[in-house]
């Protein structure tokens, strides 16, 4: 039977349907005060906190000294543990007290200098010092021990040079290899940029799953979904406007985070094309929203949506490389990372914002993300169709 008024997807009524449905989603979203407050906070306050507060750098780690030598050399070595990395926190009398202060969390490290340290050094004997480090936070512990090793190593080199008579003003007058590092993309090694972008991507991911899933399950709860099923709308016409509306809103949120928080307050450079960045973000939101819709076909109420969002979000974050480089994961997890859309989005976002790269380098990430998106959205439509068809 030919069909005059229903028309195809891109006929006038078809497009009008997409338009009114998208408008409806936006109106409903803007009227949900609690959700809007959460949304605005996440794209401003939360990103501000992440960028300014959270740091993976070692700063002012308290260090105590257990000095059994009381010599010029031992004091010289201890005095080299200084801010910004370390903060001297007095001395301890014996090993037991050292352990207690570590246990209390009162100090993060204890430098243990053995007796006859200076004497043996001057005699040219091998001598070792011990650095006890609290590594319950493994990253900070690792940093403290490596910085500590660096300080001790440098001191040892200077002590040796002095003994051999190679000391010169401001360095060593002998055959030494200097490692000269060039820091690219983030020359001041500003944590705020990395943490800020990483948090932005996390928040984008969260809302890409949550918003469409919440919108969908609200229709299920209220029974409006049945009302829509008896109208001439196709599954696509019901689901796609939700994704479009949520994508628009999340892009707006990202713009607020970039131009309202990370740009003016943390001087994020945004080196690449912002148009590309927002296009890729849109693609990413579309891909992830598919996961949200898939979740909504399983969930029966808003509380379940909340739980499912966490269940989806956590592995996505862990597998994406946002917290640990993919190369450091065991091989089977590395395989899973390739199907996490966030992995590609991270590549693209850091690439554009910090490195200034363009589509010529990012096309493969974009292609992979688009492919994942289509598969996930199709799966969501299929499940939706089965439930209500």
């Amino acid at each position: 039977m030919s069909d005059m008024t229903n028309g195809g997807l891109f006929s006038v009524p078809g497009l009008r349907r997409l338009r009114v449905m998208t408008q409806k989603e936006l109106l409903q979203l803007f009227r949900d005060v609690a959700l809007m407050v959460f949304f605005l906070y996440s794209f401003t306050g939360d990103i501000y906190l992440a960028a300014s507060g959270v740091s993976m750098q070692l700063k002012n780690a308290a260090i105590a000294t257990l000095d059994a030598d009381y010599s010029f050399a031992s004091r010289e070595l201890a005095s080299r543990f200084q801010p910004p990395y370390f903060q001297p926190a007095g001395s301890v009398a014996d090993a037991r007290q050292a352990i207690r202060r570590l246990d209390d969390g009162d100090v993060m490290a204890v430098l243990d200098v053995p007796p006859r340290f200076q004497e043996r050094l001057q005699r040219g004997e091998q001598v070792s010092v011990q650095l006890q480090v609290d590594t319950s936070n493994s990253v900070l512990g690792f940093l403290a021990s490596s910085y500590g090793a660096q300080i001790v190593g440098k001191y040892a080199l200077e002590a040796a040079a002095q003994r051999e008579g190679l000391a010169a003003a401001g360095g060593i007058a002998g055959p030494v290899v200097e490692a000269d590092t060039r820091v690219w993309y983030n020359p001041n090694q500003n944590d705020a940029w990395f943490m800020g972008i990483s948090e932005l991507l996390t928040v984008v991911t969260l809302f890409s799953i949550l918003l469409p899933a919440a919108a969908m399950v609200r229709e299920k709860e209220r029974g409006t979904i049945e009302q829509l099923m008896v109208t001439p709308l196709t599954s696509f016409q019901i689901l796609f406007p939700k994704v479009v509306a949520m994508t628009l809103v999340i892009l707006a949120g990202s713009a607020i985070a970039l131009f309202g928080v990370l740009g003016p307050l943390f001087q994020l450079p945004m080196r690449g094309s912002l148009v590309t960045f927002f296009l890729i973000t849109a693609l990413y939101v579309f891909t992830t929203a598919g996961l949200g819709l898939l979740a909504a076909t399983v969930a029966r109420n808003l509380a379940q949506v909340g739980m499912l969002t966490v269940v989806i979000l956590m592995p996505m974050l862990l597998l994406s490389g946002a917290w640990t480089p993919i190369e450091a994961m065991p091989p089977w997890m590395r395989g899973l990372a390739w199907i996490s859309p966030l992995h590609y989005f991270l590549d693209a976002a850091y690439g554009i914002l910090l490195k200034g790269v363009g589509m010529d380098l990012l096309w493969d990430s974009v292609l992979a993300m688009g492919g994942l998106g289509i598969v996930v959205f199709a799966a969501g439509m299929r499940r939706f169709g089965r439930q209500f068809g």
Binding site: V12, R16, V20, K24, T224, E226, P232, L233
Partner: protein, 652 residues
């Protein structure tokens, strides 16, 4: 004399800005079954919760057994003497516990000692006929059984006062009757006072005295008979041809005129039977245009029902019954085209047949009612016909096309309104209408026109920019109807469209449906659990356990019942419970308790009228009056289903 069970004065309760109860007053004497009757949001629940001591009120006095409930501590003092069953089917019970575990839990919660608990539990479970299912988890019970279990748990500590908030809402008529019978017996035997609310006006005669609630106010208090006597008048039932012309004329003079299928129902306020007949004749003759004459036939006049009186009271307070439908639109030409045709529709979920070979046909322009208890399969049938659910077998043709193969085009010819009035609560009235206009592909000009039509039809002028969720139930319901009509469908499906709506709202709603069917030729399929509403339909199909077990006009169904089981007799007596027992012993199968009266079906009504008072007199029961009552659809429903259930038990 001891203090009354409940005394309420100037009761005020607000929720934010909304006033739920505005100066309510009532007194419940000990041993009384007192009814609060009114629609959703009339203030019944607020009052009941305050009496039960679980909700603080904002003004006035609430006294229970002489104790003023003004603090947590005061409420604690009387709580042991009260049993409270909150609204909602089984909401206070634990779904994963069995019947017995639920009862035990409530017993121990109330500190009932072990031996007493066992004894009462056996007695109560026996009376409610739940003892066969002791170990069944509560979530697997039917609505009626859940309510009975709720009642048992409420009575387990032998309270002196029970507060039951809408115990029969959502329960099918058979279980509802059963519930009232058990309640009446229990209260009588134990001398318990009961405060019970209901949204069904036709349940008012189950109470000794009632308060009629409307929008936070009491409209009237007294025995059902006293209340009916408060607005004198005559209820006239008759046929008039052509009906669609007669209705608007009569409505102009008698605002309380309704179409009930092929019949007209007029409440002539302040007139006796003869005056009413004369007034109706004059009205029809005087206003008829030259070329049409209206023929009146089959005239019956009788006492009005409580609902007629309630609506009259509301009108006296300024309520309007009019919608802005054009009264003079031409009647739709009668057609024999079938709008809906179900043939052998079946839907199987696992090994459960939700719909089993359902067949019926609805011509264009007819109002067709699908009646049945919860779970009988009504919603499943509607879902299959609207294309939400695929039938396992059988076919449904709607507006001339097979639902399975017709695709999306067919959906433009049907409108659907679901149980929940599924509107977008956070969108305004206009936004909801425009949304559906857009979904149905109407262009902007058409969308504006139809939006104006919906607002006029539903009486929504002035509410255009209010959020749909904040509208009163009646308006929300008509908005949902408007949204289902925005694209002018030829077939309209309504799934329980009047749940929770007040009588005025329900009348306006049926007026609109009548207009649609008679003037615009729309075919309407409606499901309802308000048995009184079934009488509005031209044709009914009664569903039981997924099957259609009767398919006829309401009138034909009643005639069939009279032929098979007899006429309905009402006896007003001084002691209804012993009277009920005596009549059962005398061999009457269908004896039901209605407040101070007893109803029964009698094959020889004339002889029984003479002989029953003497029979009861022998048992020491005084009969005040005996009279014939018109059968209601509920009588028909209960009779048919009980017969089927009995047959099912005999041949499993």
């Amino acid at each position: 004399m001891s203090a009354p069970a409940i005394r309420v004065e100037d009761f005020i309760k607000r929720y934010g800005k909304r006033v739920a109860a505005d100066g309510l007053a009532l007194t419940v004497q000990r041993g009384e079954i007192y009814g609060l009757v009114g629609a959703d949001g009339a203030g019944k629940s607020s009052l009941m919760k305050s009496v039960a001591g679980v909700l603080a009120h904002d003004g006035g006095t609430v006294e229970v057994f002489g104790t003023v409930i003004d603090s947590e501590r005061a409420a604690e003092k009387v709580k042991q003497r009260i049993g409270f069953l909150p609204q909602g089917l089984g909401l206070n019970l634990y779904p994963d516990l069995s019947i017995e575990e639920n009862v035990d839990f409530f017993g121990r919660l109330r500190g009932v000692p072990g031996a007493k608990l066992a004894e009462r539990k056996n007695m109560l479970l026996g009376m409610t006929r739940l003892d066969a299912f002791r170990s069944r988890p509560m979530r697997q019970l039917s609505g009626g059984m859940k309510q009975k279990l709720g009642l048992v748990c409420t009575l387990i500590h032998e309270p002196e006062l029970v507060i039951l908030d809408e115990p029969t809402t959502g329960v099918d008529p058979v279980s509802r009757r059963d519930f009232w019978a058990i309640l009446g017996k229990l209260l009588e035997e134990k001398g318990i006072t009961a405060l019970v609310s209901t949204a069904y006006l036709d349940e008012a005669d189950r109470f000794h005295r009632v308060s009629l609630f409307h929008e936070g106010k009491v409209m009237g208090e007294g025995t059902p008979a006293e209340l009916i006597a408060r607005v004198p008048g005559t209820l006239a039932l008759f046929r008039a041809e052509p009906q669609a012309d007669a209705l608007p004329r009569l409505k102009a003079q008698f605002p309380q005129t309704e179409a009930m299928g092929a019949w007209l129902r007029v409440f002539a306020e302040g007139l006796d039977a003869a005056q009413a007949r004369a007034a109706v004749d004059t009205c029809l003759a005087a206003s008829a245009p030259a070329d049409t004459t209206i023929h009146l036939s089959d005239w019956f006049a009788r006492e009005p029902e409580l609902e007629d009186v309630f609506v009259a009271m509301l009108r006296q307070r300024g309520a309007r019954l009019n919608t802005s439908l054009p009264a003079d639109a031409p009647a739709a030409a009668p057609t024999s085209t079938l709008a809906i045709e179900a043939t052998g529709l079946t839907r199987v979920f696992g090994d459960f047949r939700a719909a089993d070979a359902v067949s019926f046909a609805v011509p264009q322009g007819e109002i067709f009612g699908l009646l049945g208890a919860n779970g009988a399969g009504k919603t499943t049938v509607i879902k299959m016909l609207t294309g939400i659910l695929k039938p396992s077998s059988g076919a449904g043709r709607v507006a001339g096309a097979d639902m399975r193969s017709a695709g999306l085009a067919i959906k433009e010819r049907i409108g659907y309104m679901s149980q929940a009035f599924s509107l977008y609560h956070d969108l305004s009235v206009v936004e909801n209408i425009r949304l559906y206009a857009g979904i149905y592909g109407l262009d902007d000009r058409r969308a504006r026109q139809r939006s104006d039509w919906v607002i006029g039809m539903a009486g929504l002028a002035g509410f255009e920019n209010d959020a749909a969720g904040r509208l009163p139930m009646g308006l929300r319901q008509r908005l949902a109807l408007g949204c289902a009509l925005v694209h002018e469908p030829r077939v309209l499906f309504l799934d329980e469209p009047t749940s929770g709506v007040d009588p005025i709202g329900r009348r306006m709603f049926w007026d609109i449906l009548f207009h649609l069917s008679r003037r615009e030729g729309v075919a309407i399929l409606v499901t309802t659990h308000y048995m009184s509403e079934a009488e509005h339909c031209d044709h009914l199909a009664l569903m039981f356990a997924g099957r259609v077990v009767a398919d006829a006009s309401p009138e034909a169904m009643k005639q069939a019942l009279i032929a098979s089981a007899g006429q309905l007799l009402e006896l007003r007596v001084d002691r209804p419970v012993p009277a009920q027992n005596a009549l059962r012993d005398a061999g009457f199968a269908n004896v039901a308790l209605h407040g101070r009266a007893v109803h029964l079906l009698s094959r020889e009504a004339d002889t029984d009228r003479e002989r029953l008072p003497a029979l009861l007199d022998k048992a020491g029961i005084a009969v005040q009056s005996v009279g014939l009552r018109p059968l209601s659809m509920e009588d028909v429903f209960v009779q048919r289903i009980t017969a089927l259930e009995d047959a099912g038990r005999r041949s499993p």
